[in-house]
């Protein structure tokens, strides 16, 4: 490898020997194309014309009034396929094409990253196969159908807990077996180097736009930036432009599930410990022996027992802080934003809204300017939320 891909002690390349040459090839290609004029022209074209960038930085006036802070929403929910995921799948999909790979594979939990990969596969003419835990296939039939409509092949995973973590295991095994022809399109700032760095690079567009927009609107940097953290890509995307600006407070909000001490939680940074999972050293939810626990969150995107290694580094250095909100709080804020602003957020993003509400209640935070990354829209969550509310649709 050209670089070790470390963030402090976190990150790295903890993978079987078979994959190292593939990661070297990927790193070399990424470094070659990330500053390549033609590559970036093509990527910018698709981000604008296909995905719908730039997204608005919307002043949420009603919510601001209600909470007593000045709240802006970065509207990643307005993007094609409904979430920020498309920024990364366009970037990596294009990279796969430039590398001459003839097959895309990806893992997905609820299906959002799977859809964003399948549509890019369709766009660029690369056959796409998506691993999804068989439990999730059952729970997310609509998204399975959406992937199949874009000519993606959904491969149900029957091993282990039959959810996201096992879908990742299975995708890695596929990659180990078919590494010559196949591009593994990881959906978050996790996995072995160069993925955490590369996914951040492709998601950094969120932060760059936000910074420009807030300067235009406020003529100053925001006091606080909040984003939900599952694997960590939307948060890393928006944080990246502000990490150097020490005066801007960065807060990541995890899926607390039934509560961080309930045993049913996805709050990896909040209560996890250092460990190696899926190719990198970071925080993980694990037992005393290092066996990985299953995560739990009402939001599938936050339902993961690991987290991107750079978040672990930002936590340890104190540059960012992390906290969790419960399923219940997230569901309340899902309704709050829908009612006050007419914007239905993804359950993932609703976690950041829920945290903002608690944050704004504190006296010392009154009147602060807050940017919340609204990473996705809630269309995908309708069934689940209706069920939670006891409504039949």
């Amino acid at each position: 490898m050209i670089s070790k891909g470390k963030f402090g002690k976190y990150g790295g390349v903890f993978v079987p020997e078979l994959l190292i040459p593939a990661l070297e090839e990927l790193e070399t290609a990424y470094l070659k194309y990330k500053d390549d004029e033609k590559f970036n022209e093509e990527l910018d074209y698709y981000l604008k014309e296909f995905a719908g960038r730039p997204t608005a930085l919307y002043y949420a006036e009603n919510l601001s009034e209600k909470l007593g802070c000045k709240i802006y929403l970065k509207r990643e929910d307005m993007l094609h396929t409904g979430a920020h995921k498309i920024n990364n799948t366009l970037g990596q999909g294009l990279l796969a094409k430039y590398m001459g790979k003839t097959r895309l594979i990806a893992e997905t939990g609820a299906g959002q990253h799977g859809i964003a990969t399948a549509v890019v596969g369709a766009l660029l003419g690369i056959p796409t196969e998506v691993y999804m835990g068989s439990e999730d296939v059952q729970r997310q039939k609509l998204n399975v159908f959406r992937m199949e409509l874009s000519d993606g092949v959904v491969l149900p995973v029957e091993s282990g807990s039959r959810t996201l973590k096992d879908a990742i295991n299975e995708t890695m095994r596929d990659w180990i077996t078919n590494v010559d022809t196949t591009y593994y399109l990881i959906g978050s700032t996790m996995g072995p180097h160069p993925y955490p760095t590369m996914v951040k690079h492709f998601q950094a567009v969120i932060g760059r736009e936000t910074k420009k927009q807030i300067m235009e609107k406020e003529d100053k940097l925001p006091d606080t930036i909040m984003a939900c953290v599952g694997g960590g890509s939307n948060s890393m995307g928006i944080f990246s432009a502000f990490v150097e600006d020490e005066e801007v407070e960065l807060i990541g909000v995890e899926g607390g599930g039934d509560g961080i001490n309930s045993g049913h939680t996805g709050a990896t940074l909040t209560i996890g410990t250092e460990g190696v999972l899926h190719g990198s050293l970071s925080y993980v939810l694990q037992n005393d022996d290092g066996q990985i626990n299953e995560a739990h969150s009402v939001s599938a995107g936050l339902d993961y027992p690991g987290v991107g290694p750079e978040h672990a580094y930002l936590k340890d250095t104190g540059r960012a802080s992390y906290d969790a909100v419960t399923d219940k709080e997230a569901l309340e804020s899902f309704k709050l934003l829908s009612e006050t602003e007419g914007i239905i957020p993804a359950l993932e993003s609703a976690h950041a809204i829920a945290y903002a509400k608690k944050y704004a209640e504190k006296e010392e935070n009154k009147g602060k300017t807050i940017v919340i990354n609204l990473s996705g829209r809630g269309d995908k969550d309708m069934d689940l939320v209706a069920r939670e509310m006891g409504v039949e649709i």
Partner: protein, 270 residues
């Protein structure tokens, strides 16, 4: 236990007899502590020259469904890292052949490398191979392995360049684990043609003894890799399949394992 045989001694011993080394694998605690120990004894009584022992892991990315199922059975039976070391001590009561541990790195990381290697040594292990720890990340472990007199074993694969092979050979001790297939562990009916090529390529870059694993499922596979120049053959999934198929009848399981081991060992005799 008297003198523990080193890998070097073992490979020399079988070589002197004109044989190759037969190295069967088991996940310790699969399906439970007692049965697993009887399995190991059956391996030893039926020709094993060394043993590969796996501690179970919740997320074994380098393994196929057979080993993962064995990991789950073992974890469900209550296997832990500490009990794993107890298990190895029990093995040492009846054999002095080399014992290698095949493991995922998080189990080492969680306990702390020093404590883990110390416990490994005390239990009677010869060497450790972490499946998800390439040379890039392994540097820090080499001193610890040295300190406790354990071999740090590495894998070489078909994708490994000659340049990397040399680096790996330099860091590796005991033997070099050659990954026969492009893929994960699992029984296969055919051995890839490229395996033979790989063995001779590795031979030309390393003086270490070689043992080939992944997909070695039949006596003819064993013969093939040995005639290609390998010093040993590691058999895993094909044996674990016998466990899985005979969970209800331990006696039949052990009888079948015993006779299959004798066939595999016989195939190492030229």
């Amino acid at each position: 236990m008297s003198h523990i045989e080193s890998y070097q001694e073992m490979f020399q011993r079988v070589k002197d007899k004109g044989e190759g080394a037969f190295i069967p694998f088991v996940v310790v605690g699969d399906p439970d502590f007692e049965t697993s120990l009887e399995m190991v004894k059956t391996y030893v009584d039926n020709g094993a020259d060394a043993l590969e022992l796996g501690f179970p892991f919740s997320d074994p990315i380098a393994d196929g469904p057979t080993v993962q199922a064995a990991d789950i059975r073992s974890l469900n039976s209550g296997m832990t890292t500490r009990r794993g070391f107890e298990f190895i001590k029990c093995i040492r009561e009846f054999t002095n052949i080399p014992l290698g541990l095949l493991i995922y790195y998080n189990l080492i990381y969680k306990m702390g490398a020093d404590e883990f290697y110390k416990a490994a040594k005390e239990s009677g292990l010869n060497g450790i191979l972490a499946a998800d720890l390439p040379p890039e990340e392994a540097e820090i472990l080499l001193d610890t392995a040295d300190k406790y007199g354990l071999d740090q074993i590495f894998m070489a694969a078909q994708t490994t360049s000659n340049e990397r092979l040399e680096k790996i050979a330099e860091m590796c001790s005991g033997f070099l684990y050659v990954v026969a297939v492009m893929g994960v562990t699992g029984a296969r009916s055919e051995l890839a043609d490229t395996t033979v090529e790989l063995v001779s390529r590795v031979k030309s870059h390393s003086d270490l003894p070689l043992a080939v694993g992944f997909g070695i499922s039949r006596p003819e596979h064993v013969r093939n890799v040995l005639s290609a120049g390998s010093d040993g053959a590691i058999v895993a999934s094909a044996l674990l399949n016998i466990i899985e198929e005979n969970l209800e009848n331990k006696e039949v399981m052990l009888t079948k394992i015993g006779s299959f081991c004798r066939e595999l060992k016989e195939a190492t005799r030229k």
